[in-house]
């Protein structure tokens, strides 16, 4: 790891000021991706702005018809939250399937979303549930937030404060983990709210998380696993790597989506 200066602001405002003064600085949330990346010298920020001590960034609450989760809330806390388990059990289950227990005790929802790893789980939930990302500057709808792998709508000095998830009527997440790394080779989050059905796919797209128009169209009339029989997803735009070809991933997407819909509609 290359040397950096370390800052531990007490407020988000202080964090934003520090980020403004240090153009090469990076925000440290749980560090479960950033620190390994720095250890491999794939990232070498001049400064780290650690949000660990910044107040008001953790916690889970229901506000109206939304579950609002603070950016520094750990995966383990989302996974075991009674509030999330009651309102959006699919989100609690997703958080409980990230990494391993020790990673879930450090990793944060804000960090995962800001990083937008193409195989991360959370971005699919944010996109399928049509969440709103609330930063220190503005509110960003999920459809505008993710802008290709490792790339988001966040600007310089912009920090995620919380994420607001509208409570769906039905939702579920399923993933096909790589047998070695356990990262999603394909992960599908399905959500139905009123007449709208949204399907987000992670792990597969060469531009990161995306909504599948084919699957959403098939599920629009009837939110049922059978609605996906015979539905094909195109391989173009999907990743091909040592783990799976784009054709294989294209085949997996409706298979995993069908399992997700079955889970979402099970009693």
């Amino acid at each position: 790891m290359y040397a950096f200066s370390y800052h531990s602001p007490k407020t988000v405002r202080q964090a934003a000021t520090l980020l403004g003064k240090n153009p090469d600085a990076k925000v440290l949330a749980g560090g479960q991706t950033l620190l390994p990346t720095m250890k491999q010298r794939l990232a070498s920020p001049s400064a780290l702005v650690d949000l660990g001590k910044a107040e008001g960034l953790s916690g889970i609450e229901v506000k109206g018809r939304n579950v609002v989760i603070g950016a520094m809330t750990r995966h383990a806390d989302v996974a075991t939250s009674a509030v999330v388990g009651e309102a959006i059990p699919a989100l609690a289950a997703l958080a409980g399937g990230i990494g391993d227990p020790a990673v879930r005790n450090r990793g944060t929802i804000g960090g995962s979303i800001a990083n937008n790893d193409p195989a991360a789980d959370y971005p699919s939930a944010v996109l399928a549930l049509n969440a709103t990302i609330i930063t220190n500057k503005r509110k960003i709808p999920a459809d505008q937030f993710f802008q290709g792998m490792f790339s988001t709508a966040l600007e310089e000095g912009e920090v995620i404060v919380k994420v607001s998830f509208p409570i769906p009527s039905k939702a579920a997440y399923e993933k096909f983990p790589n047998p070695a790394s356990r990262y999603a080779m394909v992960g599908v989050f399905v959500a139905k709210k009123g007449s709208e059905t949204r399907v987000a796919v992670t792990g597969a797209g060469s531009d990161g998380v995306f909504r599948s128009a084919e699957l959403e169209a098939a599920l629009k009339a009837r939110f049922n696993p059978k609605s996906l029989d015979g539905v094909k997803v195109k391989a173009s735009g999907l990743n091909s790597d040592i783990h799976a070809s784009s054709e294989y991933r294209a085949h997996l997407i409706p298979v995993i989506a069908k399992r997700a819909v079955a889970k979402a509609t099970a009693k």
């Binding site: 531990s8 650690d50 391993d100 020790a102 990673v103 450090r106």
Partner: protein, 157 residues
């Protein structure tokens, strides 16, 4: 350099460290608590697991300076050679190790599992929960037995 103060195994320690010092390095090289091991250094193997404020974390993927004010428990803090922690005793009784390199992390993770899931742990739960701890000797069978026995022994304590 940055100053950091934390409580390690019940004792307050203060040190000046390079900010890039990992918690694992801090424990091993500054405090000479070498029971915490670094196996993969990429947060997969779990040999470096310690408890920070009562929760298991990978100390190779945490900065020491980020633990300012925290309470850290390492394998040295749970028992002594004369009075082993029930989970340590269970690993010995069940032959839950061969080379022993992964054992400190296994035991710290196992205690965390008991703290979260209680004293009656079935094999499936133990295997799922040990996902972040890798052993390259034993094939896990005796480790799983040890965790189940240790969990029950912790209830009796």
């Amino acid at each position: 350099m940055a100053s950091v103060t934390m409580i390690v195994n019940g004792k307050e320690v203060t040190a000046n460290v390079d900010p890039r010092t990992l918690l694992a390095q801090f424990l091993r090289e500054h405090l000479h608590l070498t029971g915490t091991h670094v196996g993969c250094d990429t947060s997969q193997c779990g040999a470096c697991v310690v408890h920070v404020d009562g929760r298991s974390i990978k100390s190779c993927t945490t900065l020491a300076v980020a633990c300012e004010g925290a309470s850290v428990t390492t394998i040295e803090g749970i028992g002594t050679p004369e009075h082993l922690h029930p989970m340590q005793a269970a690993f010995r009784e069940n032959h839950g190790l061969q080379c022993g390199f992964c054992t400190p992390g296994m035991i710290m993770s196992a205690i965390d599992i008991v703290n979260r899931k209680g004293h009656q742990l079935d094999e499936h739960t133990i295997r799922e929960e040990l996902e972040g701890n890798i052993c390259r000797c034993t094939g896990y069978h005796n480790i799983v037995k040890a965790v189940a026995a240790g969990a029950q022994a912790m209830a009796a304590k």
